[in-house]
């Protein structure tokens, strides 16, 4: 188990959703929902501390391989969010993602905190800064309107170039 005290937030994204904490928890932790708002990616979470946290790409491969670090449904989930590209975790260290879910009036505030145990360049951080707003905007639309956003994302070019320069193989 990693020591979360060594991690510092690098990217925080907050969004308010007309829904319930239970539905947002379900949307964040189930493949059925995540495939709809997360470009076909399937979240498979064994929701207990130490359980596996996997995000499967549409081709079935394990894109994210992580572990559940803290689990307090429907309020807080912390997982390691490690992209399965060869050499990435060795060079960048693990990525810690925390979701906080709190009622706010008739809406619910969802806060995503991406934290790292070392300083990373703005280029590397661009990946999450580009991805999270798209994913969570689509999750909000799905819960509020019943359908996700028709999203076609451009790849995070700065991040991919920075990874390549560090000798990390990207798809």
């Amino acid at each position: 188990m990693i020591d979360i005290h060594n991690f510092t937030p690098a990217t925080v994204y907050t969004i308010y959703i007309a829904s319930t904490p239970d539905k947002i928890w379900q949307a964040l932790t189930s493949a059925e929902f995540s495939r709809q708002y997360f470009s076909g990616f399937a979240v498979e979470a064994d929701l207990k501390v130490g359980g596996a946290f996997i995000v499967r790409a549409p081709d079935g491969s394990r894109h994210i391989d992580g572990e559940v670090i803290a689990c307090d449904p429907p309020r807080k989930l912390t997982v390691t969010w490690n992209v399965n590209w060869p050499g990435l975790v060795e060079k960048l260290g693990p990525t810690l993602v925390t979701y906080e879910i709190e009622p706010a009036g008739d809406a619910v505030r969802l806060t995503m905190i991406e934290a790292h145990d070392r300083a990373l360049s703005e280029d590397i951080l661009e990946g999450g800064r580009q991805g999270w707003p798209a994913i969570l905007s689509s999750l909000k639309s799905l819960l509020e309107t019943g359908h996700p956003l028709a999203m076609k994302m451009a790849p995070p070019q700065r991040m991919l170039a920075a990874l390549k320069a560090m000798g990390i193989k990207t798809p």
Binding site: Y13, A18, A104, G105, D106
Partner: protein, 153 residues
Amino acid sequence: MSKPEFVYVTYIETTAEKLWTALTDGDFTARYWFGVRLRSDWKVGSIFEMVQGDGKVSDAGKVVEYDPPRRLAYTFVNLSEEYRDDLPALATFELEPHGNLVKLTLTHAGFAEGGKMLPAISQGWPAILSSLKSMLETGQPLEIPRAALKLEG
């Protein structure tokens, strides 16, 4: 680690023209922005004001860019005593169509060192822009009381 600026991106299923109206029409802003009506003639250099539900002007600044439906920028600072050490910081909105969506990027920068505006707007914008997205996609804004906002860490 933290830079003295705030950036927020959201994707909204709407058109750039509708989003532009939602950002600049005071009757529209009053519905999703904690009752705040934006007031300006939107000429570059003109006064920009936030008018609260009770008619009081809480924040004021100037229009810096007005290029519909692509780029909007204005400065503002809260006029109350609590923010006397703050300066008018620049909020810039960029609207980029992506298929049937619009990517909205807000960059708010140029804050006075040690001021109170940056922490305040950092909790305000996610609520305002989430409510704006709901309004455009579902016809209903979010009901978020100001008291439900919180300062980060």
